[in-house]
Symmetry: C2
């Protein structure tokens, strides 16, 4: 925890930054070019859609996506205003909110997916064989809490 990093670790870190910037740049450009909302919106929609009718509490969504609390709070505001997300008071916790995706949110996610998918292929897929992509995904998985 308090050791200096190895050369290899420093190189990996530096490349993580560049690779991420390049990949996100490509994907955001494709989404914007198609007149679609940005990645954060997709992330929220997907996570809420996966959660099903029960929805998710704000803090769960925040933990899943690793967004900042204040950031997510305002993002959800915007998406609620746009009609893609619904907020309801939590029955279990008077402080809390339950967030669910709306029909319009599901439609938006479906509309975004084809563009997003092509962008992922362009930004990531085409650089790897399937086996490499699996290895890459495994290594990336080590870096975040949820496994």
């Amino acid at each position: 925890m308090s050791d200096r990093p190895s050369e290899a670790a420093v190189r990996a870190w530096a490349r993580l930054e560049r690779a991420h910037r390049a990949a996100v740049g490509t994907v955001e450009a494709r989404l914007a070019g198609a007149g679609l909302p940005d990645l954060a919106w997709y992330d929220v929609l997907l996570e809420l859609e996966r959660a099903g009718t029960g929805g998710l509490r704000s803090f769960q969504l925040q933990a899943a996506l690793l967004f900042q609390q204040y950031n997510l709070s305002r993002l959800v505001d915007r998406m609620t205003e746009a009609g893609h997300v619904a907020k309801a008071p939590s029955p279990d916790d008077g402080r809390g909110l339950v967030l669910t995706i709306t029909r319009s949110g599901r439609a938006l996610r479906r509309k975004m997916w084809p563009v997003y998918a092509l962008a992922i292929e362009e930004a990531v897929g085409r650089h790897f064989t399937d086996a490499e992509a699996r290895t890459f995904g495994d290594l990336l998985g080590r870096l975040h809490p949820s496994g």
Copy 2:
């Protein structure tokens, strides 16, 4: 270019987002906790220091770091104002600027490094063996233009 991505590619992309967010979160928190400027400042300082006395043109720095043009323009403004970067008109190109790091910029980078290094170890290094970190770095390297 126009194919759908494989499952493995989509998973790798999703994990790239999460891993990056987690790692950057850790590193920014350590820098901020030590009262130091953020990552972008370090990136600029390092790149300019590597460039030596000749400095770099704005567009070169932009390409190296994959920053947005308008973003870098204003970041350099702030760093110049803080005395860490010097701007000079390019002798070869009347439109252009040559950016160099100042003595104070070098000092700042040196001061940031120990904190940054520990953060890199915490965010990345400790999750991998050296061999894994090398493999990881190689795979990441595929995703950005400069090799």
